[in-house]
Assembly symmetry: C2
Amino acid sequence: MPAPHRTSLHLADVQIADEFWSPRRETVRTRTIPHQEARLREGGQFEALLLKPRSHDDDDRERVPIFWESDVAKWIEAASYVLATTDDPELDAAVDKAIELLAGAQQQDGYLNNYFTAVKPGKRFTDLRDAHELYCAGHLIEAGVAHYEATGKTTLLDIVRRYADLIWLEFSPGGPCEGGYDGHQEVELALVKLYRATGERRYLDLSLLLTDNRGKAPFYFDAEAERRGDTGYFGGEWSPGGVYVRSGQRDREYNQSHAPVREQDKAVGHAVRAMYQYSAMADLALELGDQGLREACERLWDDLVTTKLYVTGGIGADPSIEGFGKPYDLPDHTGYAETCAAIGLVFWAHRMMILTGDAKYVDVLERALYNGVLSGASADGTKYFYGNPLASDGTVERSDWFDCACCPPNLARLLTSLEQYVYVADTEGLWVNLYVTGSARFAHGGQRVTVAQESGYPWDGAIAFEITEAEAPLPMTLRLRLPDWATGAAVVTVNGKVLPYTTDKGYAVLDRTWARGDRVELTLPMAPTLVRADPRVTSTAGKVAVQRGPIVHCVEEVDNAAPVPRLVIARSGELRTEHADGQDAIIAEGLVDGPPSDGLYATEPVSAEPTAIRTVPYYAWANRGKGTMAVWVRETP
Amino acid sequence: MPAPHRTSLHLADVQIADEFWSPRRETVRTRTIPHQEARLREGGQFEALLLKPRSHDDDDRERVPIFWESDVAKWIEAASYVLATTDDPELDAAVDKAIELLAGAQQQDGYLNNYFTAVKPGKRFTDLRDAHELYCAGHLIEAGVAHYEATGKTTLLDIVRRYADLIWLEFSPGGPCEGGYDGHQEVELALVKLYRATGERRYLDLSLLLTDNRGKAPFYFDAEAERRGDTGYFGGEWSPGGVYVRSGQRDREYNQSHAPVREQDKAVGHAVRAMYQYSAMADLALELGDQGLREACERLWDDLVTTKLYVTGGIGADPSIEGFGKPYDLPDHTGYAETCAAIGLVFWAHRMMILTGDAKYVDVLERALYNGVLSGASADGTKYFYGNPLASDGTVERSDWFDCACCPPNLARLLTSLEQYVYVADTEGLWVNLYVTGSARFAHGGQRVTVAQESGYPWDGAIAFEITEAEAPLPMTLRLRLPDWATGAAVVTVNGKVLPYTTDKGYAVLDRTWARGDRVELTLPMAPTLVRADPRVTSTAGKVAVQRGPIVHCVEEVDNAAPVPRLVIARSGELRTEHADGQDAIIAEGLVDGPPSDGLYATEPVSAEPTAIRTVPYYAWANRGKGTMAVWVRETP
C-alpha cells in the first residue's frame, strides 16, 4: 500500500506575482493563447472537428489532420490553467465553443478522433504505432481534467470519460486491441490524471495495462502492421503523419517499445515519447507503490542526466529521430533539443521529486525550465523554436508556427500551470522547489496556512519567506531546496538569526513550531561561474559555458567584437554581472582572435587581442536578428 | 600575338620511377582501371552504347544513362595514359573494344549521346543546362585526344572530330543553338586539346564561343527552359540526372552562368563546373594571348585561395550544391571537398602556371595533389571518397562505387597522366614543378637533353638532378620550384658547391651552361610545422594542422589515447617525425582531456594529462576501420 504522499498544490492556491514569470505568463494569456487560437483556426484544426468527409490525399501530407485534436486539446488545457487563476470571460467562452466542437465530433460510442471518423472511417485503432490516436486521446483527457479543475464544469470531462471508457473496452482483456499500446505515449499519464480527478480506478488500471503491454514480445506493432498489410515498418517509409518510420530495433527504440518498460535502462528513441512514458511510470509507481517501475525510472534518469542532457536542460540531440543520440553525443550546432522534450523533462522531473522527495530532480527541472524550455518562445511570445541548438552559425531564427504545432501550445500549458511546480505539500509540511515571488496556501494540521515568498530570483539569491496566515502555533517542516549550484554555500536565517540547518536529499530542513509573522531568509550564492562538460562530450572540448544561478548564458555576435567562434574566455578572468532591462549580462575577460592573416593559412600562431565578452541568458537569444551564437565558448587553459 | 609558350612534356618523355607515385600508379593500372571497367560493365554504361530503345522512367532516376558516356570516356582516357608509357596489350584491346561501342553508337551526322538517341530521341541540344550533353562530348574529346597521343590510333579521334564538327554547326552563328553553352563546363577545355592535337582552328574558336556565350543576358538557359515548357528552373526540382536545380541567381551561380565569364571575380557554385570553366579560360588566355580572360582567372584564383580553399587543397565546402560556400566558411565535419573538385583545381592550377610562369599556382596544385586528391582513394585503390571532409565523428568511410561515378575515373586519369605536371619546358629551358624521382627528356637548343631527378620526396627534402644526356655545352635555364613552405630556406648546390641563386616567381633560377654529368642538389627544409588558419575561418578557431613538406597530416583515433576531439597539441612542443611503412607519422607533444568527470557538468576545469599525439598523412586516413579523425586539432595557447 502506498504511503500518504506528496502532492502539488492546486493552481488557485498558489500565487505567482514576480517580475520574471508574471510578465511571461501575462504574455501567454494576452498574446500566445489568442495567437495560437487564430493559428488553429487558420490551420483547420477547429474546422476539422466538423467532420466533413474528405479523402486522404498523400500529396497533401501536412494537411492530413492526423493529430490535430492534440493541438486543440493543448490549447484548451493552457486556457483552462489561465481560467483557474484569472477572470477572463472571453477566454472562458472561447474554450466553451471549442468544447462544443469536440462534443459534436464525438461519436455515439464515445469515440473522438476526426482523422479516423472523417478521413479513414472503419480504420480506428488499427495503426496505434503511427496514427497518434491514443496520443490525441491523452491530450483530450488532460484538457478535460484541467478544464474541470479550473472551472468546475464537466462539459469536457464528461466527453473524455466516455472516450476513456471506450478505450477501456477496446484494450481490456478480450477486447479487440488486447495487448496493444500507443505509438506515441501520452494517454498513460493522462489516465492517471483522470483517475485522480474522478476517483475511477479503471483509468489507473488502464494506464498500467498500456504501460506494461509496451515492448513485450511478440511485438504488438508487428502484428498490427501485418494486419494492415503494412510492410513499411521494415523498409522505412513516411507515415501519413509525416514521421519517417525505420526498420527493426531502431524503430522499436524510437517509440520505446524495444523492451518491457520495467527492463529499460537507457533513454533511447524519440525524446518526447520517452518523457511522457517515464512520467506515467513515475505516476504509477507513486499511486501503486510499484517498486519495479520506480527503479526503472531511477535507472533511466541516471542514464539521461549523466550522458544525454544538454547544459540547458535540452534533451534529444539527434534530429533524425527527434530523440536521443549516443551517450555524450551532444553536438551544439546540429543538436535538436526540441522544446517539447525539455517540457517533457520538466513533467518527469516533477513527478520524480514527488515520488522520491529528492531535490536533484528539481535541479534538472529548473535547468530545463529557465533555459531549454524558455528559449522555445520569443520575448514577445509569438515566435517559436521547435529545436533549440546550443550554437548558431548565424542562420537560425524562430518561426511563426509549425505544421506540426506541438511545441507552442505545450509551452503555453506549462507556463500557465507553473504554480504546480513551485510548492509540494505533504503531511509534514511544505516543500519549496522553485523560488518565485508569490504565496502558497494550504492546510496543515487542521489549520489554513499561507506562506509568502519574495525575491528577485533568478537574478538575486536573497529569498524571504513569511508565515502570513496561521491561526495557532504551527508545528511544521519547511523544506527549502538548495540548488546543486549552491551546495554548501546557502545561508538560512529565521527571524534574523542564522539557523544551522540540516539537509536531506538536497533540501534545507527547517522543522519547528512556527507562528504568524515568522520570517525565513535564504541566501543563495549567485556568483557567475564557468561550467565544463565531461571530456567525453567531444563537442564541448576546450570550451566553457557561463552560468549564474539557474541561468545558463550564451554569447551572441550582436553584443561582441567578432563572430562568436573567434572569442576565447579567460579561464581565471573576472566575471562581472550587469543587470539591465530585466535580465543579467555577464561580462567575461577574454580574447578575440585576429586580425585576419595575410593568406588563408600561416605557420604563425593567430594573434589575439584582449576583449570583454558579453553574454545574455540563453533563453533570451535570437530576439535581436540573426548572428552567430554559442553557449560553449573556448577558454584559455 | 601570343609569345612562344611553356608546355608540358609528352607523357612518354617523362619517366616516373619513385617510391611514392610509382606504386600508386601501378595500383591504378592493375587494380583501379580493371575494377572500374568491371563496374562500368555492371552499371550498364557499356551496354547503354548498344542504344537499345528504352523509355525514360522517372522512378528509376539513377538508371537513366544521362551522363554515362563521360564515365566510359574517362576510363578510356585513363587507360590511354597508361598505354602511353606502358606496354599492356590486354588493356589496349579493352580500349579498342570500348571505342568500337562508341563507333557503333555514333549517328550518321556525328552525334554521339545514348540518352538522347535511345531514351529521348528528337530532344538533343534542348536541355543544355542539365542534361550534361556537351559535358559528355568534352570527355569523349579528351579521351580521343589522349588515345591518339598515346597510341597513334585515330579510331576515337576521328569519332570525336566528327562530333565536334557537328557541335560547331549547331552552335555557330545561324545554327539552332546560337548563343548556347553547356550547363556543366568541360567541352571548352576539351576543344582546346582537340585544337592542339589536330591544328584545326575551328575547335579553338568553338571553345571561345561557348566560353563567351556563357552568362550573357538574356540568359540562354531561361529561353531554353521556356522552349521546353520547363518551369522547374524557377521553382527548384530534381533534374533527370539527380541534380537539384534551384531558382534564380543561385541557380545561375550554380553553373557559373550568372555573369559573363570575363566579369566574374568570385568563385561560386558547383566546384567542378567552376574548375573546368576556369581551366578553359586559362587555356584560351594562353592560346589567344587574351588578357581579359587572364585577368578574370587571376581574380577568381585570388578569391578562391584567400577565402575558399581547405588546407588539404580541397574546395567546395557546401554539400547542397557540391560547391563553394561563403568566404571563410570551411566547416570540417560537414565540408564537401569533392575529389573531382580537387582534381579540377590541379587542372586549373597547372594551366595557370603555364600561363604565368608563377610557382604559386603549383604550390596549390601540390597541396591538392598530395592531400585532398589522394585521399579520394583507399590505399588499395578500390574504394573511394566522393567528399573529403577534414574531420570525422567516426562514421565516415570510403565506398566501393557511386551511382554518379565521376570521381573514381577522374582520379585514375589524373594519376596516370601525372607526368605532365612534373616538368614544363620553354625556349629558355626546363621548369621543375614537382619533385618526383625519374627523368625528363626534351629538346633544347637543337640538342636532346635528359635530366634525371632523384629524391625520397615527399618524405625527404634532398633532391638531386643530373644532366644525363647532352651532346655539347648546353646554355639553359633550369628553374626549380621553391615550395611556399620552404621559402627562404632552400639550399642549392651545383657539382657540390653552394650556388647563390636568384629567385623569380617562386623558382630558383639556375641560368648557366651545363654539361653532361652536371649535378644539382636542392635541399628543402622538412621540419614539421603547425599551421593555423585565418581567424575568419570559424571552424578552425583555436586549432592547428600539422604539415611536413607538402603533406598535411591528420590525427586518427586508432593511433591515439582518446577520441580525437579530446586531444590538444602543445603550441611549443616538439614535433618528431617517424618514417615507417612508406609514410611519415608526426608525434606531437600534447594533452588528453580527462579523466571523465563525476557528473556531466562541473565547474572545475577539465584535467588533462600529457600525451603523445600521433598523426598520419591525411591522404592515408580511413584505411584502418572507422574512428574519429581530424586535420584541425586544438592547440594550447
